[in-house]
């Protein structure tokens, strides 16, 4: 029993780490620009598909390095052309826009690469288990956690040690003051968006390796990101991280006792948090 529990707990942590990665990108964009990027899943998918195209040429590690960057570049273009005109307006419009964009991206990937699942090759040594007793610890899973940890640490360093990061954090609190202080908020929002999309692209490469690559991969994964942000609290990146891990773990543990409810439990958690602490576990008061 403990073996099973441990297995699922760890599994849950891994899934949670993955959700957190996705949700962090979404949260970054939401906090600074006030945009709900419905197309986040679409960018995730693009990241996966670009990696798929690159692997035959530069191998898995090359694709892992390059695909997210390309995806981020696409994100930069999208932000400056489509989203920037909408900043002054009601958030309704940016939501509708990213909504439409999600459709275009999903259908676009289906058109280019077909509706079926594509085989996504990861290096052989990654997919074998690390030990026979802890058989669930495949190299790939451990690698995923490691990569997510690295990404989170990297994000933390960027936000705290670089000029860009500090401006992003300040802008999240008060964009108007930041712009009055001479920071070019257009570029700031643009780069912030790109950073968020980079994380989405990275998550896409990882997801493709774990779940297989298909056009709907983005739309199936975006909901848990939303829930992670709601549970963790709007405006708080640590909250988003916590939220992601929490729903992953909750999902994992539920699988042991009520396998069919493992997906539903994240919504139950969300309902509970809204009931008891509407602003989220680590959310700031008055953020909304």
């Amino acid at each position: 029993m403990t073996q099973l529990l441990l297995f699922n707990l760890f599994n849950g942590l891994i899934i949670g780490a993955f959700y957190a990665l996705m949700a962090l990108g979404l949260s970054l964009i939401l906090n600074l620009s006030g945009v709900i990027n419905f197309a986040h899943g679409g960018f995730l998918a693009i990241g996966g598909y670009l990696a798929y195209m690159l692997i035959p040429h530069i191998g898995f590690w090359g694709a892992l390095a390059v695909a997210p960057v390309l995806t981020a570049a696409l994100g930069l273009v999208v932000e400056s052309v489509l989203i920037r005109p909408l900043y002054g307006r009601d958030p309704l419009y940016s939501l509708l826009l990213t909504f439409g964009l999600a459709f275009i991206l999903e259908d676009g990937t289906r058109y280019i690469w077909g509706p079926g699942t594509l085989p996504f090759s990861i290096p052989g040594w990654l997919s074998s288990p690390l030990s026979s007793t802890l058989f669930f610890l495949t190299g790939y899973r451990v690698f995923m956690v490691g990569l997510v940890v690295a990404a989170v640490v990297g994000l933390f360093l960027i936000l705290n040690r670089t000029r860009l990061g500090i401006r992003i954090r300040a802008g999240t609190l008060d964009l108007e003051t930041v712009s009055v202080l001479g920071v070019n908020t257009r570029i700031l929002r643009n780069l912030n968006f790109g950073l968020g999309i980079y994380l989405a692209g990275l998550a896409g490469v990882l997801a493709a390796g774990m779940l297989g690559l298909q056009p709907t991969i983005g739309s199936t994964l975006i909901m848990p990101s939303f829930v992670a942000i709601i549970i963790g609290g709007l405006g708080s990146l640590p909250g988003t991280l916590l939220g992601g891990l929490l729903i992953g773990v909750a999902s994992g543990i539920t699988t042991v006792f009520f396998p069919s409810a493992s997906e539903a439990v994240i919504y139950v958690l969300m309902g509970l948090v809204l009931l008891v602490r509407p602003r989220g576990l680590l959310g700031e008061e008055g953020r909304f």
């Binding site: 939501l95 964009l101 459709f103 259908d107 939303f226 709007l234 069919s260 919504y267």
Partner: protein, 314 residues
Amino acid sequence: MLGRRGPDIAVWLLLVALPYWLNWVGGYTSLGSRVLVLGLAAMSLNFLLGFTGVLSFGHAAYFGLGVYGVGLTIKYLVPSTLIGMAVGVIAGAIAAALIGLLIVRLRGIYFAMVTIAFGQVFYFIAYRWNSVTGGDDGLSGWHRMPIDLGFTTVDILGNDKAFYYLVLVCFAVAVAIMAALLRSPFGRTLLAIRENERRARFLGIPVDRHIWLSWVISCLFVSLAGTLYALLNNFADPHDLRWDQSGDFVIMAVLGGMRAFWGPLIGAAIFVVLQDYVSSMTANWMSFIGLFFVLVVLFFPRGVLGIIQRKAAP
């Protein structure tokens, strides 16, 4: 001549006579029914969105409760159209009332996010509980039952026109109620909340309570639209609960003009016709719909009636 009531009367005349002129322009009656049903859904959403200023992106959940409410009732409980509709509407209203209590203190994009998430919960239930709902295949094996009024039976199953008039009656009742509410003191408090929530609060309007009421009314009529939609198709589709359905309602309202009462109906008409046309031409209709969203938002945010209103004002 007819003054302010002119446009309203024109709209009603068009709707009453629809089965007769629609065929003439190349349409068919059940397309008209479809426009009316989705128009009702969009107008109900707009009660909350355009008139109270609250963005909900998860109305498909209550639409879906109406859809499955009527389907499950007719298939498993009582083969009666009217009872099925009542069940669907009541289910939607109760769910909306309860969820509303949970989320009414939230605002702006946070509120929108939460409505999206709750929308997903219901989609998930419809999708997963396949023993009851039929899962991904949807709920089939049932159909709208003729309505027994005692002195006569209305064959809404075989007769498309008869069904259209049932839809029209429901539409008329719902729309009349919403219009009356918007013209009343209560309706004006909703406008106040849309215009300036802080000022509304400082006039003594209990904002959260009024938003909750607007929310419940809006969801209730969306559920009604859902029941009619299921009856139209003789089928309950889990896809009707997905976030894209919610998005469709919003874009219909925006396209037709959020600040105009009839705006969403016009938006629905355009959207339905466009979707019909595009999906018959290409398998990639999803990209076109997506592109459509993007274009409307960037270039046409005021919507059809919004632009006309602009031109009419000096």
